[in-house]
Structures are given as structure tokens and as C-alpha cells.
């Protein structure tokens, strides 16, 4: 468990260091995610890597444990927002309507594009 957690933190640390060092426009943990994914995929190819946290589902089960209550992790930042609601109140209901309308439109456009493209690809594959 500790070894698995260390591996996850190590991936995050590498991600943060590279993002800061190269001034990349992305969060460090997202780069860390790709490092962990890369490690898991490399392990499948090379038996020598199958040890410690990369063995017996160890890092996988720690990762699943961290994700089991993802909602909890947004609460501290969310509480900060409750204290700054004056910023929203100041600009009235227009700001809430703007955000809500934009969320609905974004959901619809994304889901429609995803489905349209995957149906188009499926049709092309069957006709070939």
C-alpha cells in the first residue's frame, strides 16, 4: 500500500516538475496520470518490471481506493466557494443563467458529436 502510494506520488511529482519546468499549459497530475498509464503498459510487456507496486494488482487497488470517493475531494475547494458567493450575487442571476445555459449546450454538442462520429465510422467499417 505504501509502495503503491509512493509510486502514485512519484508520478505526480514528476508531472509537476516537468509542467513547472517547461511551463506547460496543463495540470501536473494530468501528466502524472500519463506516466502511471505508461508504467502499467510497459509492465505488461517486460516481465522484469513486475515487482513491488507493479505486481499483484497493488498499485491498481490503491488507485481504485483513491477514486472510490472522488466527490469527497472537491469539498474543501467547494466550501471556499460558499464563502465567495458575494461575487456571484453582485452580478445577479445573469451569471447563474449563463453558466447553466453554457453547461447544457456544451453537454449536448459534445454528446452529439461523439455519437455522430462513432456512427459514421461504424457505417464506413460495415460498408468496406
Amino acid at each position: 500500500m505504501i509502495a503503491s502510494l509512493s509510486l502514485i506520488l512519484l508520478c505526480q511529482l514528476a508531472g509537476e516538475a516537468i509542467v513547472r519546468g517547461l511551463n506547460l499549459p496543463m495540470p501536473g497530475p494530468v501528466l502524472g496520470l500519463s506516466f502511471l498509464l505508461l508504467l502499467l503498459l510497459t509492465r505488461d510487456r517486460y516481465v522484469a518490471l513486475r515487482r513491488g507496486p507493479l505486481h499483484n494488482d497493488a498499485v491498481e487497488s490503491t488507485g481504485r481506493g483513491l477514486l472510490a470517493h472522488l466527490s469527497l475531494l472537491f469539498i474543501p475547494a467547494g466550501v471556499g466557494v460558499v464563502q465567495r458567493l458575494d461575487l456571484v450575487v453582485e452580478h445577479g442571476v445573469g451569471i447563474l443563467l449563463t453558466l447553466a445555459a453554457s453547461v447544457v449546450v456544451t453537454l449536448l454538442v459534445t454528446v452529439a458529436t461523439f455519437l455522430a462520429v462513432s456512427r459514421l465510422l461504424a457505417r464506413n467499417q460495415t460498408t468496406q
Binding site: I8, P25, M26, L37, V82, I95, V105
Partner: protein
Amino acid sequence: MNGNSSSLWVYLSQSPLLWLTVTLSVYAIADAVSLATHRHPLANPVLHSIWIIGGFLLITNTSYTTYFSGAQFVHFLLGPATVALAVPLYDNRKRVVAAIVPMLISLVAGSITAIVSVVLFARAFGLPQAVILSLAPKSVTAGVAMGISESLRGDASLTAVSVVLTGIMGAIIVTPLMNRIAITDFRARGFAVGIAAHGIGTARAFQVDEVAGVFSGIAMGLNALVTSLLVPLAVTLLLH
């Protein structure tokens, strides 16, 4: 209040222990209610935990800094949890690789829509330009959104507020909306909520379906990248 219990409160209310306990217990109750209602969208545990804790801080006259001294231990785990998204992604890699083309195209479409729609709606509602700049990056994780907002000389704390509100709205709306228009493809549903409502949307997606959660997590990560490239461009084109 007598002297003893008053000094006990002064002691406890300044200690991280109390606020960590409050955060975990309020969430545990909100999550139990959410589970009891079969994950009803309106029983969203993030929404209910934050107003209950926020109200409690207000009543007890506790500063956010004091609260955060305890809550930071939970907040810290956001980074490692993001890294851990690699695990479900790895488990579902075949599904993900098979959907790479629809993902990339809807990423661009969704990311542009998120930015352009917020700018256009904000103008239609007559919001001032400084506010529009702060709202533009609202569909990505708070850290990235605040960075974008600062680089545009927006108000970073207004950005943080709109990011969280967007996430909660998206997490509540996604299930009824997708059911209403009869979308049964959980890859598409998850991807859409990840683009529109970042991590809070992703947490919701994992509650509903693991595949939806995986696609939402990918969408969130990719959108952070695309949005930071697109927002400055879109703002220049739409506002000047």
C-alpha cells in the same frame, strides 16, 4: 457558555482535527443519503456537503483559513486521485483506443462550445467584460482555469467560483438530460460531462457507470490542455 466549554471550543475550533472530522462526517452522511436515493442527481454529495459545511462555518464565525487547516488533507488527495485515473483508464484501454477518433473530434467541438457559449450567453445577459473574461475558462479544473483567468487579467476568485458552480450544475443536469434525449452510450455521456463539468462531473460519472467515469476523466484531462490554448484565442476573436 461557561468558561470551560468556551475555552474547549476555542481550542478545538482552531485545530485541524475538528475541521477534518466535520468534512469527513458531513460527506459520509451526504453520501449515505445519495446512496439511499439510488444516486438521485439532486442528492449530489458535493453540493450538499459544501452548503452544510459553509453554513456551519458562517454560524460559528470560522474563517476559511482555519477550516482549510483541517480540510487540506482531503484537498491534497485531489492530485494523487487524478494520477490514479490511470488505473480505470488502463483497465478499459481497449474501449478507449477504439473510440479515439470520436473522442478527439468531440473534444475540439465541446471545448470550443464551452468557451464560445459562455461568452455569448454572458453578453446576452449583459454581463460586463471583466466578468466575461473570468467566466471563459469555467469548464476546466480550478487550478488551470485560474491560471488562464489571471493571464487574461480576469478575476481569479470569480473564476474559481464559476468553475465549482459549473461542475455542480453539470453533475446534476447530466443524468436527466441524457436520459431525456435517450442517449444510452455511456462513453459519449461520460465524455460530455468531462468536457462540460471537469472533476465534479467526473465524480458523478463514476457514480453512474465506470465506463462513463473513464471517458469523463480522459475528457477532463484533454480539455484542460485544449482550453488553455483556445481561451486566449476565443477571447481575442469574440471580445475585441
